[in-house]
Protein backbone atom coordinates (compact mmCIF):
# COMPACT_ATOMS: atom_id res chain seq x y z
CA UNK A 1 0.00 0.00 0.00
CA UNK A 2 2.79 2.39 0.80
CA UNK A 3 5.16 1.44 -2.00
CA UNK A 4 5.11 5.07 -3.06
CA UNK A 5 5.99 6.25 0.42
CA UNK A 6 8.99 3.93 0.49
CA UNK A 7 10.01 5.33 -2.88
CA UNK A 8 10.09 8.81 -1.35
CA UNK A 9 6.88 10.23 -2.79
CA UNK A 10 4.63 12.40 -0.67
CA UNK A 11 0.92 11.63 -0.67
CA UNK A 12 0.19 14.68 -2.82
CA UNK A 13 2.77 13.66 -5.46
CA UNK A 14 1.32 10.15 -5.49
CA UNK A 15 -2.19 11.52 -6.01
CA UNK A 16 -0.96 13.78 -8.83
CA UNK A 17 0.74 10.92 -10.68
CA UNK A 18 -2.32 8.70 -10.25
CA UNK A 19 -4.65 11.45 -11.54
CA UNK A 20 -2.46 12.01 -14.60
CA UNK A 21 -2.61 8.29 -15.33
CA UNK A 22 -6.40 8.29 -14.96
CA UNK A 23 -6.85 11.34 -17.18
CA UNK A 24 -4.72 9.81 -19.91
CA UNK A 25 -6.93 6.71 -20.18
CA UNK A 26 -10.28 8.49 -20.32
CA UNK A 27 -12.41 8.32 -23.44
CA UNK A 28 -12.15 11.24 -25.88
CA UNK A 29 -14.90 13.56 -24.70
CA UNK A 30 -14.20 13.22 -21.02
CA UNK A 31 -10.48 13.36 -21.78
CA UNK A 32 -10.73 16.81 -23.39
CA UNK A 33 -12.52 18.17 -20.33
CA UNK A 34 -10.08 16.52 -17.98
CA UNK A 35 -6.94 17.65 -19.81
CA UNK A 36 -8.13 21.25 -19.40
CA UNK A 37 -7.76 20.76 -15.65
CA UNK A 38 -4.21 19.61 -16.13
CA UNK A 39 -2.98 22.82 -17.77
CA UNK A 40 -0.54 24.69 -15.58
CA UNK A 41 2.10 27.36 -16.13
CA UNK A 42 3.04 27.59 -12.46
CA UNK A 43 6.43 29.06 -11.56
CA UNK A 44 8.17 28.94 -8.20
CA UNK A 45 11.07 30.93 -6.82
CA UNK A 46 12.94 29.95 -3.66
CA UNK A 47 14.25 32.87 -1.61
CA UNK A 48 17.33 32.94 0.57
CA UNK A 49 18.44 35.79 2.84
CA UNK A 50 15.97 38.21 1.32
CA UNK A 51 17.13 37.50 -2.21
CA UNK A 52 14.75 36.17 -4.81
CA UNK A 53 15.88 32.95 -6.42
CA UNK A 54 15.44 32.00 -10.05
CA UNK A 55 11.86 31.52 -11.23
CA UNK A 56 11.53 27.88 -12.19
CA UNK A 57 8.66 26.26 -14.03
CA UNK A 58 6.96 23.61 -11.90
CA UNK A 59 6.81 20.69 -14.30
CA UNK A 60 4.04 18.29 -13.30
CA UNK A 61 5.75 15.48 -15.16
CA UNK A 62 9.00 15.89 -13.27
CA UNK A 63 8.16 14.34 -9.95
CA UNK A 64 11.47 14.82 -8.21
Amino acid sequence: MTFWKDAGFSYLKYVQVASRALRSVLKDEAKIQALKREETVLKVSRWANGKQGELKFVDPKNQH
Binding site: L12, Q16, R37, V41, L42, V44, R46, P60
Partner: protein
Amino acid sequence: MFSTAASAKAVSFLAGPLSTQTAGMATLKEIQIRRRSVQNIGKITKSMKMIASTKVPKAQKIMESARVYGAASNGLFQHAQTDFADSKKPLVIAISSDRGLCGGIHSSVSKAMKADLRKNPESTVVVLGQKVKIQLSREYRDNIALHFEQVAKTIPTWDETAAIADIILEKAKEEGVDSAKIFYNKFKTIIAFETTSIPTFTLEALEASPKLSTYEYDDGVLANFAQFAFANTLYWAVAEGNASEMAAKRTAMENATKNAGEVIAKLTLTFNRTRQAAITNELIDIIVGASAM
Protein backbone atom coordinates in the same frame (compact mmCIF):
# COMPACT_ATOMS: atom_id res chain seq x y z
CA MET B 1 -6.47 99.14 -44.98
CA PHE B 2 -9.57 98.39 -42.98
CA SER B 3 -11.17 96.53 -45.83
CA THR B 4 -8.15 94.25 -46.22
CA ALA B 5 -8.20 93.70 -42.45
CA ALA B 6 -11.87 92.85 -42.61
CA SER B 7 -11.41 90.49 -45.53
CA ALA B 8 -8.43 88.85 -43.81
CA LYS B 9 -10.64 88.26 -40.78
CA ALA B 10 -13.39 86.94 -43.03
CA VAL B 11 -10.94 84.43 -44.52
CA SER B 12 -9.80 83.31 -41.13
CA PHE B 13 -13.45 82.98 -40.10
CA LEU B 14 -14.05 80.70 -43.07
CA ALA B 15 -11.14 78.55 -41.97
CA GLY B 16 -13.26 77.78 -38.92
CA PRO B 17 -12.99 78.19 -35.19
CA LEU B 18 -10.70 75.16 -34.96
CA SER B 19 -7.77 77.25 -36.04
CA THR B 20 -8.45 80.06 -33.60
CA GLN B 21 -6.12 80.38 -30.68
CA THR B 22 -6.92 82.28 -27.50
CA ALA B 23 -4.03 82.87 -25.16
CA GLY B 24 -4.41 81.14 -21.77
CA MET B 25 -7.24 78.73 -22.73
CA ALA B 26 -6.73 75.24 -24.11
CA THR B 27 -7.23 75.12 -27.84
CA LEU B 28 -10.22 73.37 -29.25
CA LYS B 29 -7.88 70.85 -30.83
CA GLU B 30 -6.37 69.95 -27.46
CA ILE B 31 -9.76 69.51 -25.85
CA GLN B 32 -10.86 67.36 -28.75
CA ILE B 33 -7.77 65.18 -28.53
CA ARG B 34 -8.24 64.74 -24.79
CA ARG B 35 -11.91 63.92 -25.21
CA ARG B 36 -11.18 61.31 -27.85
CA SER B 37 -8.52 59.62 -25.70
CA VAL B 38 -10.85 59.49 -22.69
CA GLN B 39 -13.52 58.00 -24.95
CA ASN B 40 -11.12 55.25 -26.01
CA ILE B 41 -10.23 54.57 -22.40
CA GLY B 42 -13.96 54.34 -21.63
CA LYS B 43 -14.40 51.77 -24.39
CA ILE B 44 -11.51 49.68 -23.08
CA THR B 45 -12.71 49.72 -19.48
CA LYS B 46 -16.23 48.88 -20.63
CA SER B 47 -15.04 45.81 -22.50
CA MET B 48 -12.86 44.79 -19.55
CA LYS B 49 -15.92 45.03 -17.34
CA MET B 50 -17.85 42.78 -19.74
CA ILE B 51 -15.08 40.21 -19.72
CA ALA B 52 -14.80 40.27 -15.94
CA SER B 53 -18.57 39.86 -15.52
CA THR B 54 -18.55 36.75 -17.68
CA LYS B 55 -15.71 35.31 -15.60
CA VAL B 56 -17.42 35.90 -12.25
CA PRO B 57 -20.09 33.14 -12.41
CA LYS B 58 -17.53 30.58 -13.56
CA ALA B 59 -15.17 31.54 -10.76
CA GLN B 60 -18.05 31.37 -8.31
CA LYS B 61 -18.93 27.85 -9.42
CA ILE B 62 -15.35 26.69 -8.87
CA MET B 63 -15.40 28.37 -5.49
CA GLU B 64 -18.59 26.55 -4.45
CA SER B 65 -17.07 23.16 -5.24
CA ALA B 66 -13.81 24.11 -3.54
CA ARG B 67 -15.79 25.07 -0.44
CA VAL B 68 -17.13 21.54 -0.24
CA TYR B 69 -13.58 20.09 -0.30
CA GLY B 70 -12.34 22.57 2.28
CA ALA B 71 -15.32 22.20 4.60
CA ALA B 72 -15.10 18.41 4.47
CA SER B 73 -11.48 18.16 5.54
CA ASN B 74 -11.81 20.95 8.06
CA GLY B 75 -14.83 19.14 9.50
CA LEU B 76 -12.52 16.50 10.89
CA PHE B 77 -10.40 19.13 12.63
CA GLN B 78 -13.50 20.60 14.19
CA HIS B 79 -14.81 17.28 15.46
CA ALA B 80 -11.45 16.19 16.76
CA GLN B 81 -11.02 19.64 18.31
CA THR B 82 -7.54 20.11 16.94
CA ASP B 83 -5.94 23.27 18.18
CA PHE B 84 -2.75 25.28 17.98
CA ALA B 85 -0.43 25.19 20.88
CA ASP B 86 1.73 28.31 21.09
CA SER B 87 3.51 28.31 17.80
CA LYS B 88 7.22 29.03 17.78
CA LYS B 89 7.77 28.70 14.09
CA PRO B 90 4.65 29.98 12.29
CA LEU B 91 4.17 29.99 8.55
CA VAL B 92 1.95 32.53 6.81
CA ILE B 93 0.75 32.09 3.25
CA ALA B 94 -0.64 34.98 1.17
CA ILE B 95 -3.03 34.26 -1.68
CA SER B 96 -3.09 36.79 -4.50
CA SER B 97 -2.39 36.81 -8.23
CA ASP B 98 -0.27 38.46 -10.91
CA ARG B 99 -3.11 40.48 -12.41
CA GLY B 100 -3.69 44.16 -11.72
CA LEU B 101 -6.61 46.53 -12.27
CA CYS B 102 -8.73 44.72 -9.72
CA GLY B 103 -9.30 47.29 -7.00
CA GLY B 104 -7.99 46.83 -3.46
CA ILE B 105 -7.63 43.05 -3.56
CA HIS B 106 -3.87 42.77 -3.29
CA SER B 107 -3.27 45.67 -0.90
CA SER B 108 -5.91 44.23 1.40
CA VAL B 109 -4.05 40.92 1.69
CA SER B 110 -0.71 42.74 2.10
CA LYS B 111 -2.12 44.84 4.92
CA ALA B 112 -3.42 41.79 6.78
CA MET B 113 -0.08 40.01 6.29
CA LYS B 114 1.90 43.01 7.53
CA ALA B 115 -0.30 43.29 10.63
CA ASP B 116 0.35 39.63 11.40
CA LEU B 117 4.07 39.94 10.71
CA ARG B 118 4.31 42.85 13.12
CA LYS B 119 2.96 40.55 15.83
CA ASN B 120 5.14 37.59 14.79
CA PRO B 121 8.22 38.99 13.07
CA GLU B 122 9.91 35.59 12.92
CA SER B 123 7.25 33.99 10.71
CA THR B 124 8.16 32.30 7.46
CA VAL B 125 6.28 33.78 4.54
CA VAL B 126 5.07 32.13 1.34
CA VAL B 127 3.42 34.27 -1.32
CA LEU B 128 1.20 33.12 -4.19
CA GLY B 129 1.09 35.86 -6.81
CA GLN B 130 3.40 38.61 -7.95
CA LYS B 131 1.39 41.58 -6.69
CA VAL B 132 1.57 40.82 -2.96
CA LYS B 133 5.18 39.64 -3.32
CA ILE B 134 6.15 43.09 -4.61
CA GLN B 135 4.37 44.80 -1.72
CA LEU B 136 5.75 42.51 0.97
CA SER B 137 9.30 42.44 -0.34
CA ARG B 138 9.73 46.08 0.56
CA GLU B 139 9.58 45.53 4.32
CA TYR B 140 9.75 41.78 4.89
CA ARG B 141 12.25 40.49 2.34
CA ASP B 142 14.04 38.33 4.87
CA ASN B 143 10.91 36.48 5.89
CA ILE B 144 9.96 35.30 2.40
CA ALA B 145 10.89 31.68 1.78
CA LEU B 146 9.00 30.97 -1.44
CA HIS B 147 6.90 32.74 -3.97
CA PHE B 148 4.78 31.44 -6.82
CA GLU B 149 3.77 33.14 -10.05
CA GLN B 150 1.18 32.36 -12.71
CA VAL B 151 -1.08 30.75 -10.14
CA ALA B 152 -4.56 30.04 -11.54
CA LYS B 153 -3.69 31.60 -14.88
CA THR B 154 -6.91 30.32 -16.49
CA ILE B 155 -8.85 28.74 -13.63
CA PRO B 156 -7.81 27.40 -10.24
CA THR B 157 -7.30 23.63 -10.40
CA TRP B 158 -6.81 21.21 -7.55
CA ASP B 159 -3.92 19.65 -9.41
CA GLU B 160 -1.94 22.90 -9.52
CA THR B 161 -2.78 23.73 -5.91
CA ALA B 162 -1.64 20.26 -4.84
CA ALA B 163 1.71 20.91 -6.53
CA ILE B 164 1.99 24.21 -4.65
CA ALA B 165 0.98 22.53 -1.38
CA ASP B 166 3.62 19.86 -1.90
CA ILE B 167 6.41 22.41 -2.36
CA ILE B 168 5.22 24.38 0.68
CA LEU B 169 5.10 21.23 2.83
CA GLU B 170 8.66 20.33 1.81
CA LYS B 171 9.85 23.80 2.72
CA ALA B 172 7.88 23.75 5.97
CA LYS B 173 9.60 20.53 6.98
CA GLU B 174 13.01 22.07 6.20
CA GLU B 175 12.28 25.09 8.34
CA GLY B 176 10.66 23.18 11.19
CA VAL B 177 7.34 24.99 10.88
CA ASP B 178 4.75 24.05 13.46
CA SER B 179 1.65 26.00 12.39
CA ALA B 180 0.34 27.64 9.24
CA LYS B 181 -2.15 30.38 8.43
CA ILE B 182 -3.52 31.29 5.01
CA PHE B 183 -4.51 34.91 4.27
CA TYR B 184 -6.99 35.24 1.42
CA ASN B 185 -9.95 37.29 0.21
CA LYS B 186 -13.21 35.66 1.14
CA PHE B 187 -15.95 36.23 -1.44
CA LYS B 188 -18.93 37.78 0.33
CA THR B 189 -21.01 39.27 -2.47
CA ILE B 190 -20.27 40.38 -5.99
CA ILE B 191 -19.39 43.83 -4.69
CA ALA B 192 -17.86 42.93 -1.33
CA PHE B 193 -14.96 40.76 -0.20
CA GLU B 194 -13.34 40.27 3.16
CA THR B 195 -9.70 39.51 3.88
CA THR B 196 -9.53 36.72 6.43
CA SER B 197 -7.12 34.08 7.57
CA ILE B 198 -7.71 30.38 7.97
CA PRO B 199 -5.47 28.08 10.01
CA THR B 200 -4.18 24.77 8.75
CA PHE B 201 -2.89 22.12 11.07
CA THR B 202 0.27 20.09 10.98
CA LEU B 203 0.37 16.35 11.45
CA GLU B 204 1.59 16.80 15.04
CA ALA B 205 -1.32 19.06 15.92
CA LEU B 206 -3.72 16.56 14.39
CA GLU B 207 -2.20 13.65 16.30
CA ALA B 208 -2.47 15.66 19.51
CA SER B 209 -6.19 16.36 19.02
CA PRO B 210 -8.22 15.56 22.11
CA LYS B 211 -11.09 13.79 20.34
CA LEU B 212 -9.03 11.89 17.77
CA SER B 213 -9.66 8.58 19.50
CA THR B 214 -13.30 8.70 18.38
CA TYR B 215 -12.01 7.94 14.86
CA GLU B 216 -10.84 4.61 13.55
CA TYR B 217 -7.94 4.67 11.14
CA ASP B 218 -5.04 2.65 9.76
CA ASP B 219 -1.39 3.43 10.23
CA GLY B 220 -0.03 6.15 8.02
CA VAL B 221 -3.47 7.42 7.03
CA LEU B 222 -3.20 10.46 9.29
CA ALA B 223 -0.03 11.67 7.58
CA ASN B 224 -1.69 11.36 4.17
CA PHE B 225 -4.81 13.05 5.46
CA ALA B 226 -2.88 15.99 6.88
CA GLN B 227 -1.33 16.61 3.45
CA PHE B 228 -4.65 16.15 1.68
CA ALA B 229 -6.40 18.55 4.10
CA PHE B 230 -3.71 21.16 3.56
CA ALA B 231 -4.10 20.92 -0.22
CA ASN B 232 -7.88 21.22 0.15
CA THR B 233 -7.68 24.28 2.35
CA LEU B 234 -5.18 25.91 0.00
CA TYR B 235 -7.41 25.12 -3.00
CA TRP B 236 -10.39 26.61 -1.22
CA ALA B 237 -8.45 29.81 -0.43
CA VAL B 238 -7.17 30.12 -4.00
CA ALA B 239 -10.66 29.57 -5.44
CA GLU B 240 -12.23 32.17 -3.14
CA GLY B 241 -9.43 34.62 -3.89
CA ASN B 242 -9.95 34.07 -7.60
CA ALA B 243 -13.70 34.74 -7.35
CA SER B 244 -13.12 37.87 -5.24
CA GLU B 245 -10.59 39.10 -7.78
CA MET B 246 -12.94 38.70 -10.74
CA ALA B 247 -15.75 40.47 -8.87
CA ALA B 248 -13.44 43.29 -7.75
CA LYS B 249 -12.10 43.70 -11.29
CA ARG B 250 -15.65 43.99 -12.59
CA THR B 251 -16.48 46.65 -9.99
CA ALA B 252 -13.25 48.56 -10.63
CA MET B 253 -13.83 48.61 -14.39
CA GLU B 254 -17.44 49.66 -13.89
CA ASN B 255 -16.32 52.62 -11.77
CA ALA B 256 -13.62 53.50 -14.30
CA THR B 257 -16.16 53.51 -17.14
CA LYS B 258 -18.52 55.70 -15.12
CA ASN B 259 -15.71 58.14 -14.31
CA ALA B 260 -14.62 58.23 -17.94
CA GLY B 261 -18.21 59.07 -18.89
CA GLU B 262 -18.22 61.96 -16.43
CA VAL B 263 -14.92 63.31 -17.75
CA ILE B 264 -16.24 63.09 -21.32
CA ALA B 265 -19.38 65.03 -20.36
CA LYS B 266 -17.29 67.74 -18.69
CA LEU B 267 -14.90 67.97 -21.64
CA THR B 268 -17.80 68.15 -24.11
CA LEU B 269 -19.23 71.11 -22.23
CA THR B 270 -15.85 72.83 -22.14
CA PHE B 271 -15.39 72.15 -25.85
CA ASN B 272 -18.76 73.66 -26.77
CA ARG B 273 -18.20 76.70 -24.59
CA THR B 274 -14.74 77.27 -26.05
CA ARG B 275 -16.08 76.85 -29.58
CA GLN B 276 -18.91 79.32 -28.97
CA ALA B 277 -16.52 81.80 -27.33
CA ALA B 278 -14.22 81.59 -30.35
CA ILE B 279 -17.11 82.20 -32.75
CA THR B 280 -18.31 85.12 -30.64
CA ASN B 281 -14.84 86.67 -30.68
CA GLU B 282 -14.63 86.31 -34.43
CA LEU B 283 -18.01 87.97 -34.81
CA ILE B 284 -16.98 90.84 -32.55
CA ASP B 285 -13.81 91.39 -34.55
CA ILE B 286 -15.72 91.42 -37.81
CA ILE B 287 -18.46 93.71 -36.53
CA VAL B 288 -16.02 96.13 -34.94
CA GLY B 289 -13.93 96.08 -38.09
CA ALA B 290 -17.02 96.60 -40.23
CA SER B 291 -18.44 99.37 -38.03
CA ALA B 292 -15.10 101.18 -38.18
CA MET B 293 -15.43 101.50 -41.93
